[in-house]
Structures are given as structure tokens and as C-alpha cells.
Amino acid sequence: MQIQVNGQAMEFGDGATVSDLIQRMELEGKRLAVEINEDIVPRSEHARFTLSDGDQVEVVHAIGGG
């Protein structure tokens, strides 16, 4: 299945979770937040929340700003 992550297409096998996505992005252990189709997916649910074809995923972090 294909999902959009931060505006870019990524391929995943069926049953992939948010944790799998974070692992693929090499962001494990980083402080970040995940939103799927404009709903927050809390950190506590990353391991069991499965991705679906066509999901729009945003992975965000803190950066410098005023």
C-alpha cells in the first residue's frame, strides 16, 4: 500500500504500524508527533496503530522559530 508521509509517497506492506513508519524514517527515540488524516496518533498508540492505503501522515518535530 502507498501512504503519503510529509507530502512524499512511501510504500508499506499490509499491517504496517506507525512504529514501523518511524523505524523506516530512522526517527526512533526522537521527540516527534504524528498526525494521520489530520488526527493525532498518540505516542502510546504508535505500536498498534496500523496504516491504511492512502493515509496522509504528518511527522513533525520542534525547530527554531519565534
Binding site: 507530502g7 524514517m25 526522537k30 508527533a33 498526525e35 513533525v60 520542534a62 525547530i63 527554531g64 519565534g66
Partner: protein, 269 residues
């Protein structure tokens, strides 16, 4: 110390935001620095205890070992204040705040700013009011960037915003406080902290904000884009303290003509 040691002054009421008390009345942003080392050093020198940051997409394919902002500005040492910079609609600002809350494990203090247009980054107050209402309903503690309109400032306070943050001049312009009369009116009417957010260019601008009775100042570019940001961070720290002391001391009245400082009696010429 010598016998001429400074006499301690009566203590100032500290700045209180969302139930927490702060010694510093300077709040700083984390953007526009040369690198993260400079960011960390400048912020430390500024003495700021509340630090604002932006929320953005992680870059796909970026080096995962690269240090991140939260490595140099640790949430353990500072009150982190996520902002909604770059949002032009209430919807985007609300989304950003929810992501920030998740990012910071449920921390619900946010700096709301909804911008109107790119050239001036002037706040879109209609969207700001919509976003503020929704965020407060959702349990956020909202510090709100706003225009310097005293009526709108009061309305935001009545809605439940915990700090009112009118601009002194457009974000990043460094023009200083353009309408000190409005800032003064907002301060006089407010029962929550009022902080000038945006427009400060140099130390005297920060002092002026404090002399007008503001509870604090939030700035970023004035420090980050100074030739020597670390020294400017120190200047701002001192300026905020000076301005606050001057406000508490109560300035002398302005007069149109001179009034001699030396006695007129006893002259021998």
C-alpha cells in the same frame, strides 16, 4: 562588600504565567540563529526561562544523528512555548497546537499566532479569535499574539487567554514600539500579563516596553540577527531589567522647560 553596598529594593511581584512564577521577564524565540550552538548560548545568556519554538515536518532522509533544537534547549531547563508561526488560518493553528501538545507529552501552553498576509505578517484577528476560542475549549492555555487594539486585547482576555501579546511592530522588522499609547491602554485594562511580542530591534525598545508597564517582552530576531547575538542577549536581559525598575520607580513628569538641578541660592557670582 563595602559599607556602601546597595540597599535591597522592595521585591517586585514576579511574572506569573499559567500558574508558574518566572524571574525573567524576557521570553525568546529560537529561530534565525547561525547554528544550534549559538542558539543555546544566546538563550542561556538572555536569562530567559520561557522559550518559543516552531513545529515543522521532519525532513525525510535527514541525518538522524543531527542534533535537534530540544537537545540544546531542553524542556527540563526551560518552559517550552510552541508557536503557530506560519499559520494563516484558525484550522492550521489548531492543528499545530494539537501536534505540539503531543510533542511535549500533554503540555498545553501555546503561543497562538494567526497571520494575515506575508508582507507584514500582521495578525489576522478574525481567525485568531476563532482559534483562541477553540483552543481554550480544548484545554489549551493560550498566550495570544495580537494587534495592538485595546478592545480586541480585552476581548481575548475575557475569552480566557492567559497572556495578551500585542505586536510593537511587524515580526522581524526591528522597528520598535510604534504605538506606545495603545500598548499603554492595553496594559491599563488588562488583568492578565501583557507582553510585547514582535517588533523589538534593540535594547532601548525592550526597555520602553517595560517602562510602559508591560509584564514582559518576547523577541527573536533582535537577538538572533544582531552582529553579536550573545552580547545582544545580555543587552536585552539588562534592558528588560532596567525598564522594569524604571516602571516600578515611576518616572519624573515631563516638562516643557528646564528646571535647574543645582540650587539657585548661594551663588557667589
Amino acid at each position: 562588600m563595602s559599607e556602601h553596598a546597595e540597599k535591597p529594593l522592595p521585591e517586585d511581584k514576579p511574572l506569573e504565567i499559567a500558574g508558574r512564577v518566572y524571574k525573567s521577564r524576557l521570553l525568546v524565540g529560537t529561530g534565525k540563529y547561525r547554528d544550534l550552538t549559538e542558539t543555546g548560548h544566546a538563550i542561556e545568556t538572555s536569562g530567559a526561562e520561557i522559550v518559543t519554538f516552531a513545529v515543522r515536518r521532519t525532513n525525510l532522509g535527514q541525518n538522524p544523528d543531527e542534533p535537534s533544537l530540544l537537545d540544546v534547549v531542553s524542556p527540563g531547563n526551560y518552559t517550552m512555548l510552541p508557536n503557530t508561526a506560519g499559520c494563516y488560518t484558525a484550522k492550521d493553528a489548531i492543528r499545530t497546537c494539537k501536534l505540539a501538545r503531543e510533542l511535549l507529552d500533554g503540555h498545553n501552553l501555546v503561543k497562538l499566532e494567526v497571520l494575515g498576509e506575508e508582507k507584514t505578517l500582521y495578525p489576522n484577528m478574525t481567525e485568531t479569535l476563532v482559534a483562541a476560542e477553540a483552543l481554550i475549549k480544548d484545554g489549551f492555555q493560550v498566550m495570544v499574539y495580537c494587534s495592538d487594539d485595546p478592545l480586541l486585547a480585552k476581548r481575548l482576555e475575557e475569552m480566557g487567554c492567559i497572556a495578551i501579546m500585542p505586536l510593537g511592530a511587524p515580526i522581524g522588522s526591528g522597528l520598535g514600539i510604534q504605538n506606545r499609547y495603545n500598548i499603554r491602554l492595553i496594559v491599563e485594562n488588562a488583568n492578565v500579563p501583557v507582553l510585547v511580542d514582535a517588533g523589538v530591534g534593540t535594547a532601548s525598545d525592550a526597555s520602553l516596553a517595560m517602562e510602559l508597564g508591560c509584564d514582559g517582552v518576547l523577541m527573536n530576531t533582535a537577538i538572533a540577527q544582531a552582529r553579536d547575538p550573545i552580547r545582544m542577549a545580555r543587552a536585552m536581559r539588562l534592558a528588560i531589567e532596567s525598564g522594569r525598575h524604571a516602571y516600578l520607580a515611576g518616572r519624573m513628569p515631563k516638562k516643557l522647560y528646564a528646571s535647574a538641578s543645582s540650587p539657585i541660592d548661594g551663588t557667589f557670582f
